[in-house]
């Protein structure tokens, strides 16, 4: 009499592996529409304002790319860690510290112009992120600490350092002590891709990260090591991989990417340091990394999907008075449905006609 039968798979399904993110997005749309309906809004109209209107013109689309850039960059970095069983939850801190270091360098040149300034500023941001990521990595490898806790706690430390700097020593001397620095000189700003749009050269950093990471993941010995460590640490040890080196390396890569995302924000649209460099991109990028299945190409799509939840939430509030915080509800639902539908990786659902 059973109509549905659940069968365990012999092996996780490849197709399902890449289909579940799509399924998760679809379920999020359905559930989102339902929520809108319960709240008293027309579901299809709300979804239209959420997902279509914000990117209906060139400007909107450029804003989508602007928003997706840091998410993509950080998620690529995180996938190095996550693939190899290293749980770096502190990308937000690495972003912040990268922004602090590169912002500090940019402030040194506040009244100077020159082609050499921007490369130094960018490099400083990457180094800042790496330095900050090296703390949980070194503590993990040499003192066996839990990298989840250390990296997460360091996020708050980095924000306090930023607070201290912009309130105190780095605050704009002409700025009435408000918590912000001077504006950077034009030479320390990432060039814009088009007049009137905010999309900047930082997108090339993200695209470069995608290409390089794809190459490393699938074409190099390091990528293979990461994969093996991800499946089983014991196997990796048995195979003779030097685990410590790899752990530190993936953290450094991850930190560099987060640091660069920070550089992109402060030398791109913001143009100075202040207390809110990032609206928690470092945390949202964790969703992006998993939604993209830790695959560089997948992460591009995932970053676009998640980016639109930010834009859509604003549009929906402006035009339909839907509370803006629904954007975060959508982000949560995507992750929830993704994790839930991972069930299908290991189990098959079979529909059986009722027998008499």
């Amino acid at each position: 009499m059973n109509l549905i039968k659940i069968i365990k798979r012999d092996q996780p399904s490849r197709t399902i592996f890449f289909l579940t993110p799509v399924l998760a997005i679809f379920l999020t749309l359905v559930a989102g529409g339902l929520i809108f309906y319960i709240l008293g809004f027309k579901p299809f109209e709300a979804l239209k304002f959420f997902f279509i209107v914000p990117i209906a013109d060139m400007y909107g689309f450029s804003e989508l790319l602007l928003k997706a850039t840091p998410l993509c960059l950080i998620a690529i970095g995180l996938s190095f860690c996550f693939k190899s069983n290293n749980w770096n939850i502190g990308a937000e801190g690495q972003l912040t510290f990268g922004a602090i270091v590169s912002g500090g360098v940019a402030l040194l040149f506040y009244n100077q112009e020159g082609f050499y300034i921007l490369p130094i500023v960018i490099l400083a941001g990457a180094i800042g992120g790496m330095l900050y990521a090296s703390i949980p990595a070194i503590l993990k490898t040499y003192f066996n600490t839990n990298e989840i806790l250390v990296s997460l706690m360091l996020v708050y430390v980095s924000k306090l350092i930023l607070d201290y700097l912009v309130v105190g020593p780095w605050s704009n001397p002409e700025g009435f002590n408000f918590p912000e620095t001077r504006q950077f000189s034009d030479s320390a700003r990432l060039p814009l891709l088009a007049e009137g749009l905010r999309i900047h050269a930082g997108i090339f950093l993200a695209l470069a990260a995608v290409v390089i990471s794809w190459f490393i993941f699938y074409k190099t010995y390091l990528g293979f090591q990461m994969k093996v460590s991800g499946f089983s640490l014991k196997t990796a040890k048995y195979a003779g991989y030097k685990g410590k080196k790899m752990i530190i390396l993936v953290f450094l890569i991850s930190g560099a990417c987060a640091g660069l995302a920070g550089v992109g924000e402060i030398t791109g649209p913001i143009g100075q340091l202040h207390r809110e460099v990032s609206p928690d991109y470092g945390f949202t990028a964790i969703i992006v990394a998993f939604l993209g299945r830790l695959n560089p190409v997948g992460i591009i799509f995932a970053s676009l999907v998640v980016a639109i939840t930010y834009l859509g939430a604003e549009t929906a509030q402006i035009f339909m008075q839907i509370p803006k915080y629904t954007g975060q509800v959508f982000q949560g639902m995507i992750l929830f449905f993704l994790l839930a539908s991972d069930y299908l990786l290991f189990f098959k659902i079979k529909f059986i006609g009722s027998k008499k």
């Binding site: 009435f176 002590n177 913001i270 604003e314 509030q317 402006i318 035009f319």
Partner: protein, 356 residues
């Protein structure tokens, strides 16, 4: 007869014209950008009360809540300017640079930025309230009612606005009780119930029996209620959150200003201004005084409120000395707005140093 006919024709035409003009005027749309949720019962909540006053005056309004001061602010502003809003109120300091940037691109849209100092384009005005006048009242009550002579003060950021409030509060308290000390804890946040509660507890441990706050959540008054001490509400009337503890609140009353400015846009009389209104103009309102306040203090406070409103009393009347005993304002003089706007030193009686 002829003349009368023409006259009535003219007057009816004028009448018709005014009708059309006022009909057009009603089409003015105002937008509000908020840093927090409208339900914070503090800063944003009060701005939203002001927005509702604009609605009640017959104008259409839109708002976007929870807009971070990151790169996102600029996009929200541009979208509002692009979608038919005639005047946009940006209600947090961190929106200053994005406001001026977007104002340049939309010369026909009026921008009103709260608490900032940059008016780089003719379509940008700034506005703020003389909250320190309200704090003179709070200081008078605190000085009269403290038994431990230690008054706690939870401060947000060491900017002139906040220093001014601490000073105004302390001067007023000293006037009625020369033995008091004001102890400050810097929370480095405008809104964080957790941090604010910690700060309040620290002050209670140091012997404070009355706590004032320059942060926006209701956490502090609730802690005071539990500890059985007194406190003052901030931004909105917080009495209902701690009926025993709250002696009174300093309310931010933006409604009259908002209605005024939106009407000015409708009539075409809007011009660039830097507004700084206090009790006299109704932008700062003292909530009902709690029954725990003795009759003599109550009478004194009521008189003080009237005198501050009329200008007979100024919060910063000399002689005023700084912590080291240097004269800041001579006897019989009052601090001018320039000095108030840049105030970065504590007066005598405040404990500790301003964080640098």
């Amino acid at each position: 007869m002829h003349k009368i006919f023409i006259r009535s024709l003219v007057s009816s035409l004028v009448f018709l014209f005014t009708l059309t003009v006022s009909a057009v005027a009603k089409d003015v749309k105002a937008a509000f950008v908020y840093i927090g949720p409208t339900g914070d019962h503090g800063w944003t909540y009060q701005h939203d009360v002001g927005r509702k006053a604009v609605e009640a005056a017959g104008f259409k309004t839109t708002y976007v809540e929870g807009v971070p001061e990151s790169a996102d602010a600029e996009r929200v502003l541009r979208q509002l300017a692009n979608s038919g809003h005639d005047v946009i109120f940006t209600t947090s300091f961190g929106y200053m640079n994005p406001t001026n940037k977007v104002a340049k691109e939309f010369p026909n849209v009026k921008f009103e930025h709260a608490t900032g100092y940059k008016r780089e384009h003719p379509n940008v005005s700034t506005y703020a309230a003389r909250f320190y006048e309200g704090r003179t009242i709070l200081g008078t009550i605190a000085g009269s009612m403290t038994k431990s002579n230690v008054i706690g003060y939870v401060a947000s950021f060491p900017i002139p606005e906040v220093i001014r409030g601490i000073n105004s509060f302390t001067l007023a308290a000293q006037k009625v009780n020369p033995n008091i000390k004001t102890k400050i804890v810097w929370a480095f946040t405008w809104y964080d119930p957790g941090k604010e509660a910690e700060a309040a507890k620290a002050l209670i441990d140091q012997g404070a029996d009355i706590i004032a706050q320059h942060t926006d959540s209701t956490a502090i008054v609730q802690i005071a209620e539990k500890a059985g001490i007194f406190a003052f509400g901030q931004a909105s009337d917080m009495d209902k959150f701690a009926p025993k503890a709250v002696l009174t609140s300093v309310e931010n009353n933006w409604g009259p200003y908002y209605v005024d400015r939106v009407k000015a846009v409708a009539n075409g009389t809007w011009n660039q201004k830097d507004t700084w209104h206090g009790i006299g103009d109704g932008m700062v309102v003292i909530s009902d005084l709690d029954s725990a306040i003795p009759a003599d203090v109550r009478a004194k406070v009521n008189q003080l409120e009237k005198d501050l409103a009329s200008g007979k009393v100024h919060s910063f009347t000399g002689p005023i000395y700084d912590q080291k005993g240097n004269l800041m304002v001579a006897e019989g003089k009052t601090a001018d707005d320039g000095m108030l706007a840049g105030m970065m030193t504590y007066v005598k009686g405040v404990e500790g140093d301003i964080p640098k």
